[in-house]
């Protein structure tokens, strides 16, 4: 990736012809793999968004004949909603946060030459495209693809009620889980074993902490998902009966095993974004992060609690009262660390000198929107209330405030923040800000009304609400949301245009355009292909020394006296 001599638009494939495949396709370089993940997820997000659009068109105009051409049957609708959620979760959020930024940034941030197992890393990436292909393949098969929702509960997802598309889905998710698990091992080995001299655990930037703990979650939770899916596969393909009640199996057991993974997984989907946001807020507030240790304790307690709250997805399933009381208590408590983190973010910007770059705007947007998703979680923790809002649009609102307003905004912050490090050029700030504001507003237009639909009694995953007279009053809201979604989708073109334009002709930058202290900014942009650093740096202090008595900012790699003389110059 050091090949950036050419200034303008000619395609430079000519001069690295023999190595192109090695360099950009089957590369073992964590930076290339990170960028591969990033571009893959950009394709996926368009795909997932298209499915979302189909769902919403149907909900806004359930008896338009135009929409009928696109969403011809209820079964198609269920397929689209299953694909939407599966692609967004397994193909966008996890691979962008963990795959793209984890890969590109973590080794740089800790001063490592690469990941601990570069080949394994390449394999992790290369499992993703075939898995997604297998998942989508069902769309063109006669029986269609999976249609039982991303949660894929048997018996609906069992052999009797679903087709070969469901088998494809199960295989795909097992493969993706394998990819995540390999990634987790790689991050753990890298973070624990390859830190530069002086980089103690308590000097690591919060993004590294986030990936560290996320990897612990992944390592413990994902194999459990694999076991649930393997049992489902055995039921489907080989006549086993783990979840087949007519043959002595237990459908409810699937839910327990599934959520034992999937609750930790929701934190796999948010912790890295929280890490990005913490780092971006500190850099652009020109202040140390507020409560660094409290942040770490929060991350760790989220991880701990994350394993004992899974049953809160099953309050209506009829599990034993003792169990549901346990999950009620733990679920209330898991809200605390998220609250603590939010307050510490406010503490970080307090008294700062905020540079409102595009990356900073996304990070601030995250703080504002994640708060909504966190607060709506409380409603579900209160079991009597959850008995009402479970399986309604309220939950859909909750998911999207944490995953779009949270995780995806974190991804956007990360893209605008690290783009200069990836490509040696900045993204266009004007376009970036336009993209941010339009997205922020339209996003709320699409998802805020979902709270009202949920309270109004609209179930989730329904093809048409026209059956029920009590849902008619929600028609205008549904139309409003769909129109907003079309606008929201269109606005994303600004982002893709910005990427394209900035790749070709964005403002060139030096090593450290944001005047940041962390290690990735203390090497060239982009970092050299082999080894990242000319010489493995030594780390002298924590990650957030801004405006201390040493000077405006103290790169982790410079000893005190050098920082002082840098400040004078």
């Amino acid at each position: 990736m050091s090949d950036h001599k050419h200034d303008s638009g000619h395609h430079g494939e000519g001069h690295h012809e023999q190595t192109f495949i090695e360099k950009y396709i089957f590369s073992c370089d964590h930076k290339v793999i990170g960028i591969q993940y990033l571009f893959t997820t950009m394709v996926m997000v368009v795909l997932g968004g298209t499915f979302a659009l189909l769902i919403r068109l149907q909900l806004a105009w359930p008896d338009s004949s135009l929409v009928a051409k696109l969403v011809s049957t209820p079964d198609k609708y269920n397929q689209y909603l299953t694909m939407h959620a599966s692609i967004m979760i397994f193909g966008v959020i996890i691979p962008s946060l963990v795959g793209a930024f984890g890969n590109f940034v973590v080794p740089l941030m800790i001063g490592a030459k690469d990941m601990a197992f570069p080949r394994l890393n390449m394999l992790s990436y290369w499992l993703v495209p075939p898995a997604v292909f297998v998942m989508l393949l069902g769309l063109v098969l006669p029986g269609g693809t999976a249609a039982a929702g991303w949660t894929s509960y048997p018996p609906l997802a069992g052999a009797q009620y679903s087709g070969v598309g469901q088998t494809g889905w199960v295989l795909a998710v097992i493969i993706l889980g394998g990819s995540s698990t390999m990634g987790a091992i790689n991050y753990l080995a890298t973070i624990l074993g390859m830190r530069a001299p002086g980089m103690t655990l308590l000097r690591m930037p919060l993004f590294v902490w986030a990936i560290f703990i996320t990897s612990v979650l992944t390592l413990f939770a994902t194999p459990v998902l694999a076991s649930a899916l393997t049992m489902q596969l055995l039921d489907r393909a080989f006549g086993a009966s783990f979840f087949v009640h007519t043959a002595g199996g237990q459908p409810l057991m699937f839910q327990h095993i599934f959520w034992f993974y999937s609750h930790p997984a929701v934190y796999i989907m948010i912790l890295p974004a929280m890490g990005i946001v913490s780092d971006v807020l500190a850099v652009f507030s020109r202040k140390p992060i507020f409560g660094y240790r409290a942040m770490i304790y929060s991350i760790c307690s989220i991880a701990g609690f994350g394993f004992i709250v899974w049953g809160h997805h099953m309050f209506t399933s009829g599990m034993s009262p003792t169990l549901s009381t346990t999950f009620l208590i733990t679920t209330f408590f898991i809200a605390v660390p998220s609250a603590v983190k939010s307050f510490n973010w406010l503490g970080t910007i307090w008294g700062g000198s905020l540079r409102l770059t595009t990356a900073m705007l996304w990070a601030l947007g995250f703080v504002g929107m994640f708060a909504i998703g966190g607060l709506s979680g409380i409603y579900s923790a209160a079991v009597p209330v959850d008995l009402y809002i479970h399986d309604t649009y309220w939950i859909v609102a909750h998911i999207h405030y944490v995953l779009f307003g949270g995780s995806l905004m974190g991804v956007f912050a990360g893209v605008y923040f690290w783009f200069p490090k990836m490509f040696g050029r900045k993204m266009d700030e004007k376009l970036g800000k336009l993209h941010f504001w339009l997205t922020l507003i339209l996003y709320n237009f699409v998802f805020m009304p979902m709270h009202i639909l949920g309270l109004g009694g609209m179930q989730r995953r329904i093809y048409s609400w026209k059956i029920y007279p009590h849902l008619y009053q929600l028609q205008e809201i549904n139309v409003f949301m769909t129109v907003s979604l079309i606008a929201l989708g269109t606005v994303q073109a600004i982002f893709f245009w910005n990427i394209y334009k900035s790749l070709k002709g964005g403002e060139k930058v030096g090593n450290n355009p944001w005047e940041s202290t962390t290690l990735e900014w203390q090497t060239s942009s982009p970092p050299i292909a082999h080894g990242n650093f000319e010489k493995i740096p030594t780390v002298y202090r924590g990650a957030y020394e801004y405006n201390s008595e040493l000077g405006p900012y103290a790169p982790q790699t410079l000893p005190d006296d050098k920082v002082r003389s840098m400040a004078k110059a």
Binding site: D63, A68, T73, Y153, P155, L156, H245, T246, L252, P288, F290, G291, A294, T316, S317, G318, T325, L328, I329, F332, F343, L346, W350, S353, L354, R355, L356, L364, V367, G368, A371, L375, I378, Y379, A381, A382, V383, P384, V385, Y388, H390, M448, I452, L455, R460, R461, Y463, S464, W465, K466, I467, Y468, P469, H470, Q473, E476, I477, Y546, N547, E549
Partner: protein, 275 residues
């Protein structure tokens, strides 16, 4: 009552300005004492979360405006945090959440889980793709023998029926109106024993607030004691296949006398009530 109305108005005004629509209700009416209590808990949570929400957003915007870099060379505060503040903003949420947790748990135990041993009416609910079957097994506290049990079946949309054509919904509205309602008496306790013959469904009358999954191979119980007569929708809340969206039923809460008469009539063989 007052805070409810206020928040309701605020939310409804927000929604109405957003959509320009006419607004009937924010939440379907509540028809049992239990659901009143659930609503109260919900409104308290709405108030708490609204205050926190507004607080966080106001502080966020205020800090952004106040501390943005205006190029005047103001030096940012250098601090790594404050243990006192951490204790405060950990402690206060913990206290609030403990209150909510205890309240939720008490409400569960005192009401929702307190299924009466001897209810006035016992109804077996059997879900299947994509309809509901209701069989009254006990009435006025007495077992009804199998042959004369009233049965209501929303059998118009079994799997065998061809997929409705696109414009089905409109006709379905009349279909919905023609569904035979299940009748239960007001001011008496009814226990629903819910199960499924195929996949997982979820039995839900929004006016009860409570929903309960119908699990194949299991019987889950809920109980209610309605205090308002009227006609209410029964919906399936758990994705159960391509007809999930149209797995509808109707519930009619009637006076005790009307109910008794209905049961007697059903028992004497008025079974062509099946739609």
């Amino acid at each position: 009552m007052k805070p409810r109305v206020l928040t309701g108005l605020a939310l409804a005004a927000l929604a109405a300005t957003l959509t320009g629509c006419s607004w009937e209700y924010l939440i379907p009416i509540s028809i049992t004492e239990t659901s009143d209590k659930i609503d109260l808990l919900m409104w308290v949570i709405i108030w708490i979360t609204m205050i926190v929400f507004i607080g966080v957003e106001v502080v966020l915007v205020w800090f952004i405006l106040k501390y943005r870099d205006m190029g005047d060379g103001r030096k940012p505060v250098y601090t790594h945090g404050s243990n006192k503040l951490e204790a405060i903003w950990t402690g206060i949420p913990v206290l609030i959440l403990i209150v909510l947790a205890v309240w939720s748990e008490n409400l569960l135990n005192a009401e929702i889980r307190a299924i009466p041993e001897k209810p006035d009416v016992r109804i077996k609910v059997t879900a299947r793709q994509f309809n509901w079957n209701f069989e009254i097994t006990e009435s006025s506290g007495e077992q009804i023998d199998e042959a004369s049990r009233p049965i209501v079946d929303t059998g118009m949309h079994s799997t065998e029926t061809a997929e409705p054509d696109r414009h089905f919904p409109k006709e379905f509205i009349s279909g919905y109106d023609n569904l035979t309602p299940l009748k239960i008496p007001v001011d008496r306790t009814t226990v629903f024993e819910i199960t499924s013959l195929d996949v997982i469904h979820s039995f839900w009358v929004p006016e009860f607030r409570i929903k309960q999954d119908a699990m194949p191979g299991h019987v889950n119980r809920i109980w209610i004691r309605p205090n308002k007569t009227g006609l209410y929708p029964i919906v399936c809340a758990e994705l159960c296949g391509n007809g999930h969206y149209r797995m509808a039923g109707r519930l009619e809460v009637v006076t005790g006398e009307e109910y008794d008469a209905w049961v007697a009539e059903q028992a004497s063989g008025g079974s062509d009530e099946l739609f």
